[in-house]
Symmetry: C2
Subunit: 142 residues, 2 copies
DNA sequence: TCAATACTTTAGAATTAATATAATGTATTA
DNA sequence: TAATACATTATATTAATTCTAAAGTATTGA
């Protein structure tokens, strides 16, 4: 099974036809050595730089949202003017470097289980994810 | 020291002159029996309902942001099309009810300390806050 | 107290991310 | 391969937020 076949499979499972544009989007998203974080605008730029295929914003939005719905991408709960997405769909957390405006993954195994001693009647927890905000540690200032 | 004096103090400490509009905003935000979550639009509506003072969106935005900068309000890191704010500025967490689109506070004492077994060189953690997404617990479906 | 000054308020305009639209194009199907 | 259904795109729209500039108000110092 080639990479492209995998992309086609992902697209079909997301209810999307495999088109030139969508396969290109998959190449950028799922062929990366590492997982990464991105905004829609950034994704469009990467595609423009890597290929001579033109992809409209609307297509990228639609495809990204279909992948999120299917669980192939995740939205990062960061209160920002634009949405951030993550190719790492495992249950994990984030550092957010407030000085560099950068997100860094924290894998679940790097965190002890979070124990919430409180419940809401009739409700169950579906997921727990945190953002740890980090800043420069200038010890000299202490 | 009257309530209004406290509002004037908060405003001055935030670098703002105490005006009619801003004192009204303070009354809504800081006179509540309980802490609460709000969007800018909701805050404008509450003010309209409680007083015959007219306050423009711009004034509310400016004042809320000055209070956040000073630490009198907090922004809730929820990835939504509008920003959510919190009058509870203690270190705490949230349930987010995905069905009702509602936030519920989780006090720090209701959560065991979060232990992150990983550090970023030269950086220190400033805060750790999580969102626990909750949904209906239909046990019959199991 | 009272002008001069500096900051505020406001309506409306501008900006920006995100979504909708509808005409043209392409994958699928039988 | 033709008919159909779905995609793509440029453009328009929407909605939250920010900006602007004119008119208003708090502050300051004489």
């Amino acid at each position: 099974m080639t990479y492209v076949d995998q992309y086609i499979d992902k697209l079909r499972k997301s209810g999307l036809r495999p088109t030139k544009q969508r396969i290109k989007i998959c190449e950028v998203l799922f062929n990366a050595e590492k997982t990464f974080h991105f905004t829609i605008k950034e994704l469009v730029k990467i595609i423009e730089n890597q290929a001579n295929i033109k992809v409209s914003l609307a297509t990228v939005y639609n495809t990204v949202h279909a992948f999120i719905k299917k669980g192939y991408l995740k939205e990062i709960p960061l209160n920002a003017s634009q949405s951030y997405y993550d190719t790492n769909v495992t249950h994990h957390h984030h550092f957010f470097d407030e000085e560099e405006n950068k997100l860094i993954d924290i894998n679940q195994e790097d965190v002890d289980d979070i124990n919430i001693k409180r419940t809401i009647p009739g409700k169950k927890i579906r997921s727990v994810e945190f953002i740890a905000k980090i800043v420069s540690d200038n010890q000299s200032q202490k």
